[in-house]
Symmetry: C2
């Protein structure tokens, strides 16, 4: 057996352990009764330990060295490179730091759940300081290992190749036009009369609608399912993708749009190249590309007028409301593209969302680089919210800097993925429109060419290409935020 083959065998083993962990995590969120949690958490931790021991085995350094000297095909070379990237990510941190991170993060996150409700920044910030301290240590170690700056080394975990120099430039541009665009859109929309659909919308009927839309969007039910959980997610494994939602009987659009979003993630997973699924090279390229697929489905596709022409009649039918004017196509278009600055990122519309991300990015970048401290966050949050969205969060930590889970367990570097994903999605759509008449295809209920394009340019590329190369091969250029601006202007100002 060659060393490359040994590494493949080893990586398969890790992939299989990950499979069971992913299914048990899904179960924990979607099916497990409360009383099962303690034993389950212990069992999951044990499996994580087994995974860690395997992935950090001492002999692997030698295997990689020897495999690199072997004669390999072009694909195998890329696969080896990605295996090594994964191995380095897993191995660079000392075991003690990994354990401390896990304990400190769990403690901070757990306490945050009640502290947020109590608006208790004082106690939360004490835990967060410890999390930030460890995150800075992690960033320093990763920086030393990669030659990147500290924050760039964290970014690299979620969006390999992305740097804050590039993001500063892109987000800097956005900041020049976004606040005024938001105001213009609001001014224009103030003339619209929009009806809010009134519940109850029975969960069972919402489920029927969700499953129908998933089918129309090509979700493969022989390789996945839809279930319910408190926090919607896309989990499982590519051969068995588990997406979840929650049904709000007062507002069917939240589950519907959520399901469409998760279906975008799911189709990316289901579309990854079958023969490489057990290896890093066969997995999703980055969090940003992942988000680009969910946002392509949710924002680019499903909130478009031609698609709402499909959705609205389906909703009227499933809820038996043929004469409900709030479910008319016209009203659903207005309702689905309503723009209103708000405090909460996860509730934000497509236009104001980037402001929430830019704010978080600027704060976490400076936090990791040591330019600001945890104590500075509330004031900065208030200042930036006022500047970007015209809303003050003074004294309101619950709906301000304590609203997100990401920082509680030290996931610094993740936030930019959301807006990078929105920009990639807009750029993909613009490229697709140069090749086909997307709106006509939707009107003809012929979505297959759209999915084929995504499959060919993104899903089947998996991690064989860098994010930049995926963009270049699919759209002819690297990330260009103009497409995102164009999309917003077209949809929100010129409709």
């Amino acid at each position: 057996m060659t060393y490359y083959q040994k590494l493949e065998q080893h990586t398969k083993k890790l992939s299989r352990i990950h499979h069971l962990s992913a299914i048990c995590s899904w179960d924990q969120a979607a099916k497990m009764p409360e009383g099962g949690n303690t034993a389950r958490s212990e069992a999951m931790a044990e499996l994580a330990l087994i995974h860690h021991e395997l992935s950090t085995a001492a002999h692997l350094a030698e295997w990689f060295e020897k495999a690199e000297a072997e004669s390999l095909s072009a694909e195998q070379k890329i696969s080896l490179k990605e295996m090594k990237r994964q191995w380095k990510k897993d191995n660079v941190l000392p075991a003690e730091l990994v354990e401390q991170k896990s304990l400190t993060g769990s403690k901070c996150e757990h306490a945050w759940r009640s502290q947020r409700k109590e608006n208790n920044w004082h106690e939360f910030s004490q835990n967060l300081e410890k999390v930030v301290q460890l995150a800075r240590e992690e960033a320093q170690i990763r920086a030393d290992a990669t030659g990147l700056s500290r924050y760039n080394a964290m970014l690299d975990l979620y969006e390999p190749g992305m740097t804050c120099e590039k993001i500063d430039e892109i987000f800097g541009q956005v900041k020049t036009w976004l606040p005024s665009l938001i105001q213009e859109v609001q001014a224009q929309q103030s003339h619209d009369e929009v009806l809010t659909p009134k519940g109850p919308f029975p969960a069972e009927q919402q489920k029927t609608l969700s499953l129908d839309i998933m089918s129309k969007l090509g979700f493969d039910f022989s390789h996945g399912r839809l279930d319910v959980s408190t926090h919607p997610f896309c989990g499982g494994v590519p051969t068995d993708v588990r997406i979840t939602t929650r049904y709000d009987e007062d507002d069917f659009t939240s589950a519907l749009m959520g399901v469409i979003h998760e279906t975008g993630h799911a189709r990316y997973e289901q579309g990854l190249p079958e023969q490489w699924l057990d290896f890093p090279v066969g997995q999703a390229r980055s969090m940003g590309i992942h988000e680009s697929q969910s946002l392509f489905f949710e924002m680019q596709l499903s909130r478009s007028k031609p698609f709402i022409e499909i959705l609205a009649p389906l909703a009227r039918e499933v809820f038996s409301r043929n004469n409900d004017k709030s479910l008319s196509t016209e009203n659903m278009v207005l309702f689905s593209t309503r723009v209103k600055p708000g405090y909460i990122r996860v509730d934000a519309d497509e236009v104001t969302y980037p402001a929430h991300i830019i704010l978080r990015y600027e704060i976490e970048r400076d936090l990791i680089e040591g330019k600001i401290e945890v104590a500075d966050i509330p004031e900065l949050w208030d200042k930036k919210m006022t500047e970007y969205l015209g809303l003050s969060t003074k004294g309101n930590f619950t709906d301000g800097c304590m609203q997100d889970i990401h920082w509680t367990d030290g996931s610094f570097g993740y936030f930019p993925s959301y807006t990078l994903g929105a920009m990639y999605a807009a750029q993909f759509m613009a490229a697709m429109r140069r090749e086909m008449n997307v709106d006509n295809l939707i009107r003809e209920r012929n979505l297959q060419p759209i999915f084929n394009w995504l499959d060919r340019h993104i899903w089947k590329k998996a991690s064989f290409l860098s994010t930049e190369d995926i963009l270049r091969e699919a759209t002819g250029e690297t990330l260009n935020p103009d497409y995102f601006k164009e999309h917003l202007v077209n949809r929100y100002l010129e409709s």
Copy 2:
């Protein structure tokens, strides 16, 4: 750390791996879409391998030896003994035989699924011969390691301490009265006019009824769930018990009685002593005792007249059939205690069931001991079916010797557990009746004293006592099949 503590830590690790395996098995049967199966099976096999490597580590022999010399509490001594029993069971077979067994068994079982439908004994028997060959090797190795005879060494896997000498005596007695009892019951029942409830009974309503009965039977929904699968089972782990059923819209009693049966298994699991759950000593004593609990719930409790007085009105209500005479208490009692010899074990009533087991036991015992060969099975099956139940299976392999899954993967020694369980259940009920008026308690809807008795005498004993000692402490004597006969006579001849 003492060697006993090291063994506890090691055993906890195995228990946690088992936890994930149990949940993923449940998922595979109850939730997984078909396309997930290949990757899932590979992942499960990987985990089994990890479990095997850990449980057969070379240093464990020394750990056991040293732990036995340490100063331990009485409970720890029993726990150590059970850990060692488990370890020996896991270690006695050479790895090569384990692998061959697994491959040959999978192949035989897989082919059996279509061969059974095609009544293809010829091809099936060729696979079965290989399975039997390996089972004999296994039995010989286990016999050498335990000093038991070959078949007794296999029995010991499922019902520790049980021997074919004891079973021969007990089943021998049953054979003297069972065939004539069946005829007498049939003669008496021939005068009854029984209405068969007519569907459709919507699955959703059956589910409501099932959940209601599970609650009444004390199932703890904070530590378990009910779902649907093709083959009903009780799985998961004691802190999170997963039972399944399937709903036949033509016949609600099959799911209902099945759910009650699995609830018996589930309450045993949920009732095991919390602080010992990770260790063999805290687990169910044997397959026979497990079956005694499911049959106590299904046969002793739920098919009793006072319990059907609870069930029948619930059924009439949930199906909105207040005037359906087939759902009257009187008719449901007759319908639930109908006796009719048939070909299929899993469809058999309480009275004819033991005949199916005795037949299988006699064949598998002689097969493992080498007194008969696979080629002899069809003739023996036909002869014994004719003798015990008056039915010939000549040429009918599908409904004869090819109907069960057990032998296909080499699980010889399992079948007696079913009837031993029925006998234990009758003996437990007889002892319980000496302490309380069970029928009155049921009529008063006060089942708690019944559950408390089971919890005290069986569930909380886990594997701290042998099967014989559980019986002795709970009922004052070891297995006495007279209680089972008395139960059948009381219910089926003197009602």
